[in-house]
Symmetry: C2
Subunit: 339 residues, 2 copies
């Protein structure tokens, strides 16, 4: 596999076009590409020093402006920043949250920045798994900060939570009782809640929203890897680039604390184990999905279970038995194995 | 399987000893018992009218007093109430949250009540799956309300959340900034937060805690199957049996709304599909765990992934390939499939 070795060398040397090609390779669903992608990832271990940051926020909250402002701040300080996106909706809608680079026009021209549109197609889990691999490639290419943005569809935040060191949630100023559509599970993984648009007439509202969330986070979140004072809520103005340096200082402080306490390493090891188990599960499911009789059986049995006609355990036994060559125990008759 | 048919008849007739024996059967790990348990469950469909209620709360919050007061209130009104427990810690500690029936002495003597100690042993997932089956048996035996209590260890709340219609979280009065150790994921599934001990000198504190959580729930929770005003926070005094009727009215109101809107049926169907998929996954894992070579391979590969020596996808491919009789792609050498 001479190509892979050469590509790995060029990625490690920080060549942007090689990195882009490498990401295309991990996103491909062709079997030979997958084998090459795995060889490539094996050849390019993730540097310990990388900082992987997840970012979520509902549409309209100012996410692109925030990413551009933050990215420019970091690249102007000499850092190299990669921005990736998880957008599971793009497969259906044809849209892409980063497909249009004009969304971050200034950042896309910065020499230290690498912006990657979301994959055009893919199953949800598949997109997330490949995004994690793309982030690993960016880290290997020398991007010290990898920002993984999610548009907040389905389980994407939770999946991104399993591939980053720190997670940011961007909110807009809102009335005390106004719901912001903060999705299931996000408050569990957010390390820093940033209330954006703390500028002009919305500034006082942003302060109040920030205080509301600070209180809610104190009540509802408790994790051993949260240092004193975290999770934290802050106000920022992405438009005026205010509060970003302070927010980033908090990110660094949090990561430094977790690194010193050993939480960063243990979190990364746990994440790696999580993805390994997911990959094993998915690999087995993919193999079994190729077995038409098995797939048909699963569909019929699941419908019977949902309709209350069969208990889950009995249906599962009937689904699995034929895979292991057991006699009997097939069909939907339920009670018929003896009497 | 004449025994099973007879046991099913006796359970359906509401015989307590038959129900206890049936639950012991579903808890057993012996293969012949499992087959009988599945036949039994197939013969005893869950009545639509049953109300399955999850309850969680940290130790010291007054959970047993609450369950006893609520159970007595319902049984005195002529209802039949079953209380089950999920206590994954009992396998390790030898303790059991319901093993000692004196904990709910009055309720255990009520003719309409059935109290079941937690299983003595079992893996976490296994305990939860069997608890769900025990709840189905209680429903089939004519217990109109099945209360599933969890002590709050590991993922037990989330698992119980997948087997109930309504979830209650019991809290103690606390200072505004005082953490109550509310665990990851609970706020996502709680429909009603009940601040207990709203009696004597703690009453004002309970009111304040209740207001804090009401505010936090408004900010952080949003689900399509929440009617206006839910999730809700209320104060109760389990000791003085005050607020319980009001809390139970809210439970009934919530369930009636979800039933009328079709959410109850769709939630139950989704739960059944969830457990079917879990059972299929577990059945495949159990079969594979019997393959020593596979188990050893998984252990070695997971360690290599956690140590950063191998990417997850490559390791998973190596783990799965031999199961399907593929040549090559074994061992930990990583890059050796060609070059």
């Amino acid at each position: 596999m001479r190509d892979v070795a050469e590509l790995a060398e060029r990625v490690a040397a920080g060549e942007r076009r090689a990195l882009a090609r490498a990401i295309t390779l991990v996103e491909s669903r062709r079997a030979d590409h997958r084998a090459a992608a795995e060889a490539l990832l094996t050849a390019l271990p993730v540097p310990e020093a990388v900082l992987r940051v997840g970012l979520s926020g509902t549409p309209g909250v100012g996410k692109s402006t925030f990413v551009e402002s933050l990215g420019l701040m970091l690249t102007e300080a000499g850092e190299r920043v990669a921005v990736l996106a998880v957008d599971p909706s793009s497969a259906r809608s044809g849209g892409s949250i980063l497909g249009d680079k004009t969304r971050m026009e200034r950042l896309s021209r910065a020499p230290g920045a690498f912006i990657r549109p979301s994959p055009a197609v893919g199953r949800l889990g598949g997109v997330a798994r490949r995004t994690r691999e793309a982030a690993a490639l960016c880290a290997a290419a020398g991007y010290g900060t990898v920002l993984i943005e999610t548009v907040g569809v389905g389980q994407s935040e939770v999946e991104v939570g399993w591939m980053v060191d720190v997670f940011l949630l961007l909110l807009a100023p809102a009335g005390g009782d106004e719901l912001q559509g903060v999705k299931r599970g996000i408050m569990e993984i957010a390390d820093l809640v940033l209330v954006n648009k703390a500028d002009g007439p919305l500034a006082p509202q942003a302060q109040r929203t920030c205080a509301d969330y600070a209180g809610a986070l104190r009540l509802l979140r408790k994790r051993p890897d949260d240092p004193e004072g975290f999770p934290k809520a802050l106000t920022v103005s992405a438009l005026e680039a205010r509060g970003l340096a302070e927010a980033w200082d908090e990110v660094r402080r949090l990561v430094a604390w977790r690194r010193a306490k050993g939480w960063l390493a243990s979190r990364r090891a746990e994440q790696a184990r999580h993805w390994f188990r997911e990959e094993v599960r998915q690999a087995i499911e993919d193999r079994l999905a190729g077995d038409d009789a098995h797939a048909d059986r699963l569909t019929a049995l699941e419908a019977a279970v949902a309709a209350g006609e069969l208990p889950a355990a009995r249906a599962a036994a009937q689904a699995v038995a034929p895979l292991f060559g057991d006699a009997g125990a097939t069909g939907l008759d339920g009670g018929g194995d003896s009497d």
